[in-house]
């Protein structure tokens, strides 16, 4: 069943036989639902100051070193570490620290050795590539190309020539040392090469034909040699991947062990110990209470004492907030979390945010065709992220892809309502012809929306509805908190809200009368007057509750009133941006349509329309998204979302 409020929590405090605390920690990790607190923070009557904590920071640091080392090896091999699941926690878990250390040391050494060879090969390649570049670019003066032979019969001649010199046999690979050779080197290395050649009895050939032939041969040979070096270099580079994948099986085992061990240590760092017992405490969602109790009882073989405390009875530690939101609404959960965490016990804002965000986007970016493009982008890019977890997150991130699917649907729905299909009216609109109204071409006499002002009116009404929903949510939250003063006498409470609602009605009547009169009904006068004076009572009521000195804070009251009148007005008018964006969308599409009409040929027309649609999708889509976000954050959330909550962070395998 969907819970429209944050999940109810309970505080679990356990005293367990110390010898079984490891086992209990593993069990807690397996279940992964406890958000641990520092027992010393609890308002209890026992002196805990002399009790020791379960694990030191140094222990955790040491394990982090293991984790970083193994992660870096995975990264070198271009593979992701495995995801650890609760099934990976065996019955009698143990981390083989020494074996792991030896294993990682061994692989690290192998990788370091490969890197060293890679470096040498890279240097060699760059040296020859430089010669090759000079050859290709005709900068021969930087090179020494020698044709000749050796007068001394030396074995292993190739290795006696300095490595910065390319050694070739002229025409024949099977020649003897005295047959013609070509030696290519950089002129700047001559100082080191010449003495060696003298020692080997090098004699320059005076055969002009050989000299001429050598140039072409060197050119080809250098290119081939560079390709060969590059290939060799890549081969060495691939050895890293081979080593990592060859060892990945064992690495996965150790990675899981390290992860589990680290998390168990993390859990145990929340324990405090006496000589024979371990004590820990943490928050658990009420629906998980039974499960965790069974686990603790089983793992401690019943040698434990468990105490449950209701959230409302706990003092001194914040109650974490967990929202029971369906996974499908994850993109909107992220939007809410990005803003802040709601207070414990308040309304879960995700559901209403989903609805408000999608309606706002649909109104600003209403087009079936363009919405479908967004949907396709979201779907296919999202799929490619899922298929390739190593893929770098681009401008359109995997999270954005999920959101785009929703926004694509919203945009398509909006497009169907307003009859817009890539800017054209392919099917009649289900509501009214937005495009026609903006361009002044709509001729539906039955429609209530006939000009831009009517569109602006719709968005103001929409804004009013959003703000009222926000206020109602605030009243629900305050009533649940039993904060009666703010519920009745705050600017976002019933008093402020009544002023807004009655004021909105008054403003409508004023506009309808041609900006001449406000409603004459006493409801208008009392509806505004009573709350205005009621707000004056906020300070005395607060003083009475807090048992402080009685006071009437005129300044506070005056500022509140100013904020109510100016704030609500600007908040409501702010929703006109929805109409503004919608109108801009239509105008842009119309502009591209007119531009395409100026092009005589069909291909040109299509090209203009394609570019136009692409631009509108990119620019308008982005601004509609940003404006929808802004309206949610600043006009909707500010009415009920205090953001004073603390997120629920249980220690589990995703920690």
């Amino acid at each position: 069943m969907i819970n429209f409020f944050t999940k109810p929590m309970k505080l679990m405090t356990v005293v367990v036989n110390k010898t079984l605390s490891d086992k209990v920690a593993q069990g807690l990790l397996k279940l992964g639902v406890m958000d641990f607190i520092n027992v010393k923070d609890l308002d209890i009557d026992i002196d805990l100051s002399k009790m020791q904590s379960g694990n030191s920071i140094e222990d955790l640091k040491e394990i982090d070193k293991f984790l970083n080392q193994i992660k870096s090896i995975y990264s070198q091999g271009g593979i992701l570490p495995p995801k650890v699941k609760s099934i990976d926690i065996p019955e009698n878990f143990d981390f083989r620290k020494d074996e792991c250390r030896v294993f990682l040391y061994d692989i690290s050494n192998q990788l370091a050795e490969i890197k060293e060879r890679q470096k040498i090969s890279s240097q060699k390649y760059h040296s020859y590539a430089e010669m090759n570049n000079y050859m290709v670019q005709g900068k021969v003066p930087y090179l020494d190309i020698r044709v000749g032979g050796f007068t001394k019969e030396e074995s292993d001649l190739k290795n006696k020539i300095p490595s910065s010199c390319v050694f070739l046999y002229l025409n024949n690979e099977n020649s003897t040392p005295s047959s013609p050779h070509i030696l290519v080197s950089l002129k700047r290395d001559g100082g080191k090469i010449n003495p060696v050649l003298d020692k080997l009895g090098w004699i320059e050939s005076d055969d002009v034909t050989s000299q001429k032939e050598s140039y072409d041969q060197v050119r080809t040979a250098l290119g081939t040699y560079c390709d060969k070096l590059k290939e060799e270099h890549n081969k060495i580079k691939n050895e890293t991947n081979e080593i990592v994948s060859k060892n990945s099986g064992q690495m996965d085992v150790f990675f899981r062990e390290i992860q589990i061990y680290k998390l168990c240590m993390k859990i145990k760092s929340s324990f405090i110990n006496t000589k024979n017992t371990s004590i820990f405490s943490g928050w658990v969602p009420t629906d998980k209470a039974k499960g965790i109790e069974t686990i603790v009882m089983d793992d401690s073989k019943g040698q434990c004492i468990i105490e449950w405390t209701e959230a409302k009875e706990v003092r001194g530690v914040p109650i974490p907030v967990e929202m029971d939101t369906p996974g499908a609404l994850a993109p909107f959960s992220r939007i809410v979390n990005n803003f802040n965490t709601p207070e414990y016990g308040s309304v879960n804002p995700v559901f209403l945010t989903t609805i408000a965000f999608m309606i706002m986007f649909a109104l600003m970016f209403a087009d079936v065709g363009q919405g479908f493009v967004l949907l396709l982008i979201g779907f296919f890019m999202g799929r490619s992220y899922k298929k390739n977890p190593m893929k770098k997150e681009g401008l359109i991130s995997s999270n954005l892809c999920e959101l785009l699917i929703y926004l694509g649907f919203a945009s398509m729905a909006g497009g169907a309502l307003f009859g817009s299909y890539f800017g054209f009216e392919v099917f009649p609109p289900l509501w009214f012809n937005f495009h026609g109204v903006v361009m002044g071409t709509a001729n539906d006499s039955t429609s209530l929306i006939n000009d831009v002002y009517d569109i602006l009116g719709i968005t103001i009404k929409f804004g009013f509805a959003v703000i009222v929903v926000g206020l109602i949510l605030n009243w629900i939250n305050l009533a649940r908190k039993k904060d009666w003063v703010h519920l009745l006498l705050d600017k976002y409470g019933i008093s402020g809200g009544t002023i807004f609602i009655i004021g909105y009605w008054g403003a409508n009547v004023f506009v309808a009368s041609g900006y001449k009169t406000f409603p004459s009904s006493p409801l208008f006068t009392y509806g505004i007057g009573i709350p205005v004076f009621a707000l004056l009572l906020k300070a005395p009521f607060k003083a009475a509750i807090n048992k402080t000195k009685f006071k009437i804070d005129i300044m506070d009251w005056f500022v509140d009133l100013l904020e109510i009148f100016s704030g609500y007005l600007s908040n409501t008018l702010s929703f006109m941006r929805v109409a503004g964006l919608g109108i801009a969308h239509v105008s842009l599409m119309a502009a591209f349509e007119q531009m395409s009409e100026m092009i005589p040929n069909l291909a040109g027309k299509i090209l203009i329309l394609l570019i136009g649609n692409a631009l509108v999708i990119a620019l308008e889509g982005l601004s509609a998204g940003i404006q929808a976000l802004r309206l949610n954050y600043y006009e909707f959330f500010t009415k009920f979302f205090t953001g004073r909550g603390v997120a629920y962070k249980p220690v589990n395998l995703d920690y």
Binding site: S72, I73, Q76, I114, K115, S122, H126, K139, K237
Partner: protein, 355 residues
């Protein structure tokens, strides 16, 4: 001429954000903590600005290529800064780019010297120098492939560095090494830099003079120790090679102390908060080097504090550009030191000494 706010307003926000990013990324700490070179590289991979560097290592396994890439980044960064600036600020910023050009030129000539004159097997190091245009059109390839000093002079004929190289003959270089040449290059550069201050607004000139003054004092103290004590360059010659500016150089007593050949006593007295006495008393060269390194560290800390002070002060000045270049350069140097330290298996403390 643009107002200070228009000139530096945008850059101020941009550079401060970047500096905060560098600070908050804790790259240096994490790299120092990494037990192996490969893990230190992984730290770089986690940061989008340095990810490319990790890829270079994946491709080549060569930390010298990483060092080159860091210099490339620095050139790119300074060029980017220059694009945002106008008038004298742009000229000054171009001079900051010129410093990197001079470093590259010195580097090439050092490799040339080791390779050609000393016969070392270091020609491959030419693959790690910059060969593209940094600020001026320098024929890098001709320089890289020069086989004698005359070819270096010829290659630099149509550049602003011609005079600096042409002052030295092949024989001078062979006899004295590159010390005088490099010091003169620095002198020329700082003259240009100090010259550029004349065109600045009053506030910019004050800030730049303060910062450069500290920089010049530090460099001059270290040069006196390094070249006077370590290389035993005669006093008269040494004075002509000092960088022209800063409160130390401009002080008449300093000049007098050189004449009276008691500059060491003068420095000990003037900079009493540093333990210069122990350095001046060192007879053993390795001991002198060790103590100088300690002093260098203290002076570097002092310079760091000067830049910190700038960042705390009025935000719309040229000081911000100087501070950013300093922070960025220091950051990149630290990365280079750590990578080299990890490569040679140094422990954290030893690397920290150099960082």
């Amino acid at each position: 001429m643009k107002s200070a706010l228009t000139q530096y307003g945008f850059l101020n926000a941009k550079l401060r954000a970047r500096m905060a990013n560098l600070d908050e990324s804790h790259i240096i700490d994490k790299m120092l903590d990494a037990p192996t070179l490969i893990q230190a590289i992984e730290v770089l991979r986690e940061n989008p600005d340095y990810k490319k560097i990790a890829t270079i290592y994946d491709e080549s396994g060569d930390i010298q290529l990483i060092e080159k890439s860091l210099v490339d980044n620095e050139v790119g960064m300074r060029k980017e800064l220059s694009k945002y600036l106008e008038d004298y600020a742009k000229d000054f910023s171009d001079l900051l780019i010129m410093k990197l050009e001079i470093n590259n030129l010195k580097n090439i000539i050092r490799i040339w010297y080791d390779n050609i004159l000393l016969g070392g097997n270091v020609g491959y190091r030419m693959n790690y120098v910059i060969k593209y245009k940094i600020l001026n059109d320098i024929p890098w390839e001709a320089l890289i492939n020069a086989v004698n000093w005359e070819e270096i002079i010829k290659a630099l004929k149509d550049t602003c560095y011609f005079e600096a190289v042409n002052r030295h003959s092949s024989e001078d270089i062979r006899k004295n090494g590159l010390v005088y040449f490099e010091m003169e290059m620095d002198v020329d550069y700082y003259k240009k830099l100090l010259d550029s201050l004349k065109h600045m607004s009053k506030r910019d000139r004050m800030v730049a003079t303060d910062v450069l003054g500290v920089d010049l004092n530090i460099k001059n103290i270290l040069n006196i120790i390094r070249y006077g004590k370590y290389y035993d360059i005669p006093h008269e010659k040494l004075y002509s090679l000092l960088l022209p500016g800063g409160s130390l150089y401009d002080s008449p007593n300093f000049k007098k102390s050189f004449k009276n050949k008691n500059v060491e006593e003068f420095l000990i007295k003037r900079f009493s908060k540093y333990d210069l006495e122990s350095i001046m008393e060192a007879t053993d060269k390795s001991e002198l080097l060790r103590r100088s390194l300690k002093l260098e560290k203290e002076l570097a800390e002092h310079r760091k504090n000067v830049y910190k002070k700038i960042l705390r002060g009025y935000p719309f000045t040229i000081g911000l550009i100087m501070a950013y270049c300093f922070v960025y350069e220091k950051f990149n140097n630290s990365i280079q030191v750590i990578l080299n330290g990890k490569y040679y298996g140094w422990d954290r403390d030893r690397i920290m000494e150099v960082v």
